[in-house]
Symmetry: C2
Subunit: 435 residues, 2 copies
């Protein structure tokens, strides 16, 4: 009896040509993270359920893949932050602080599958964890990594939006609106979509006093370039300590972001971003591709006071950002705007027109010794089938060996894009393919 081969909905599975692009993006993210000295981590996908769920709440518990094996209550990780918290506690004595680590790996959330949502997806995280304390300057390294990474992925026009949670939290404290803060944030978050007037209406619906709404709107009105915003912020003259701490931190972070070499064209202060997760306590980031705002933030994160409080009484503040690669890739693919990725693994396919592959194998070995990815077509098929294979593999060159070429010690190299074909020596072949 046959089983129908099928893949679970919400689990991305790519064709090879797409996988090449996906891997290329992942390689670039990894290389960018390593350029800043982040250390690699690869924690298990399966963990004890109580370890993973130590700090989790409602949605996470519902979505998690949890199961028993023998006597163990196990689960698949749903993010890379909890495994990091676990890791720094477990190996506290063996790692150096500040601990800069990246992890690129699959995580699992049993959401209802829908377009653009995945149940298995890659996260690409970096975090810097301090032992007891972590200086504010680390908050300025994140935009620098984001800048390098998104550039490396081939995008030039993007904006890293920076804010500090203390400013918003301080604002709400100042206005005695702490209880309503979550609701207000939800409304503010829609500012761009619904406009100022509708924000006011929504706030009125919450029965907030007019004078307070005016204060909120005054705050939201702060505009201009980065320095103008910072100046206007200082002039607001709120007495709340947290608010002023936030303003001071934000100024300091912005100063250092510039020292880290991020140009003013690629970041700004956005006082409205809060990030959903409530563990962010200071600087927060979002990153938008300006031509593709509909993608949402492609790289987000922030500063948190205490990474691992559910495992240890050691205080471990940290700052980090994450790219949700699976979703990012699938959107880019859908919009057909993936940049700068190779189209094939092999640079060349060697095809023999002779009744044997001896010379083709020889040339294949020579090319590989020169670090050129080389496929040799081995099947005994008609020449048309061989070229069809080369075409479908998107390979940029085909090296053909016929009687003439074998006699001359040459190959005929066909450029698959231009169609141009020339008989050349092996040395020339290597030179062209190495380019």
């Amino acid at each position: 009896m046959r089983v129908e081969p099928r893949t679970l909905p919400g689990f991305m599975e790519l064709l090879p040509n797409d996988q090449i692009q996906f891997n290329s993006m992942m390689d670039k993210i990894r290389a960018s993270y390593e350029k800043f000295g982040f250390l690699p981590l690869d924690t298990p996908i399966v963990e004890m359920a109580d370890v993973l769920l130590a700090k989790a709440g409602g949605e996470t518990e519902k979505q998690i893949y949890r199961f028993n094996k023998g006597d163990n209550d196990l689960a698949l990780r749903f993010d890379l932050t909890v495994p990091l918290a676990k890791y720094v506690c477990q190996y506290y004595n063996d790692i150096s602080f500040p601990f800069k680590r990246y992890q690129i790996g699959k995580v699992y959330r049993g959401e209802r599958p829908q377009k653009g949502r995945y149940r298995e997806f890659y996260q690409c995280d970096i975090d810097i964890i301090g032992d007891g304390e972590l200086s504010l300057i680390n908050d300025a390294e994140m935009p620098s990594v984001i800048y390098t990474t998104i550039k490396e992925l081939g995008f030039d026009d993007f904006t890293i939006r920076i804010n500090n949670r203390k400013i918003l939290n301080g604002l709400f404290a100042e206005l005695d609106l702490e209880k309503e803060s979550v609701e207000i944030m939800r409304i503010i978050d829609k500012l761009e979509k619904i406009g100022k007037e509708n924000v006011v209406k929504c706030l009125e619906d919450l029965k907030i006093e007019t004078s307070k709404i005016e204060k909120v709107m005054e705050f939201l009105k702060i505009d201009g370039d980065t320095d103008t915003k910072l100046e206007k912020l200082s002039k607001l003259d709120f007495s709340n300590k947290l608010f002023n701490e936030g303003v001071t931190e934000l100024k300091e972070v912005i100063k250092n972001v510039r020292l880290f070499g991020v140009p003013d064209t690629h970041f700004n202060v956005d006082l409205t971003i809060a990030r959903g997760l409530d563990y962010y306590t200071g600087t927060v980031y979002e990153t938008f591709l300006n031509d593709y705002r509909e993608l949402g933030s492609v790289c987000s994160g922030g500063r948190y006071d205490n990474l691992a409080e559910y495992y240890t009484d050691k205080k471990m503040p940290g700052v980090g950002v994450s790219i949700g690669l699976t979703r990012f890739y699938s959107k880019l693919q859908e919009m057909d705007i993936i940049k700068n990725t190779p189209k094939s693994i092999s640079k060349v396919i060697v095809i023999s027109m002779l009744d044997n592959n001896d010379r083709a194998l020889e040339i294949g070995s020579i090319l590989r010794e020169n670090n050129i990815n080389t496929d040799v077509y081995l099947e005994d098929k008609k020449i048309k089938a061989k070229f069809k294979y080369a075409n479908r593999l998107n390979v940029p060159y085909v090296a053909i060996i016929g009687e003439e070429e074998e006699k001359n010690g040459t190959v005929s190299l066909k450029n698959m894009e231009t169609g141009e074909q020339n008989e050349i020596s092996i040395d020339e072949l290597i030179t062209i393919l190495k380019k």
Copy 2:
């Protein structure tokens, strides 16, 4: 209430310095596979249980991680071969045959944990799948890939042992010992360990006729170099068709292995290897590091007639090999014989002796623009703490910026291995670190 942070037994979790080595090995395996034009695949770790278990038997069913989520009966993949079979059936119309793919990924087997056994481990597989047929010359590509890969991993003295299952199967058919073949193979497998006399004793215990045991021993006696063995094989003059087919195939494969550029010093014919899995039907491979035979085979595989018979009536023969990287790495690490891997992610750590990091950040940016992985130490700590951090990270260089260096536009570069320290220009710094 605090949860104890812990990792499941049998799940490898490495410290960063070890992870760097592990990743380097994985990178080299991937690069070697790509050098031969194998295409990347990344199938889900979670699949429908009936899909994964379509061709499975006893042990697999016992070891598999299987669980329900909603109405779905799910499981974690236990190898990369079943997902490949699934994949070629599902995307049959979208892929090109022969389909050369590699996959490097984690697989799961709930074995009883013991030293050197893992429940979560990486497999690094390559396979070439034909549509209906796949020419024998592909069997010769495998040793070439193995040769390139193991060399790339830094080992020079290793032997790829090649055999053809048809020879052993034909031998048993010739002697009418097919029913006993599994038992006999198990005994033959121990030849090296227990010696010829004990093999004879074991065969006698199986109540095999003396004349047949003599035939088996005559077969096992075949020795000499590769060509001598092939010659002696031909001279055995067994009438069994399968046997002779196997001999012919083995000769042809050996001829092509040489054409693929694998030197005779690195492969031989080993008529006793059968490989446990019963789906191999032709050529089989094992690879031993000659100085570390106790590691067992580090790269094995073979030819199979029909990859996907549980999903389709299309015949898909294939040939492939696999490296069990997690086990391989853990053994190498235990023996302290990991070769040619980097010791750190960063090439240099920039340390400021000033009361600010401005110049350090500037130099960090310059180095990164030159594609040099660079960490800048940002915490406000004593110089001793900064160097301790650099030491623990195994970083080869530290670039120090004091008042003098800031004034001169230089850095003092300390070679952490030799202890040598020189004040140099930024251009010199780039040149040294790029080496």
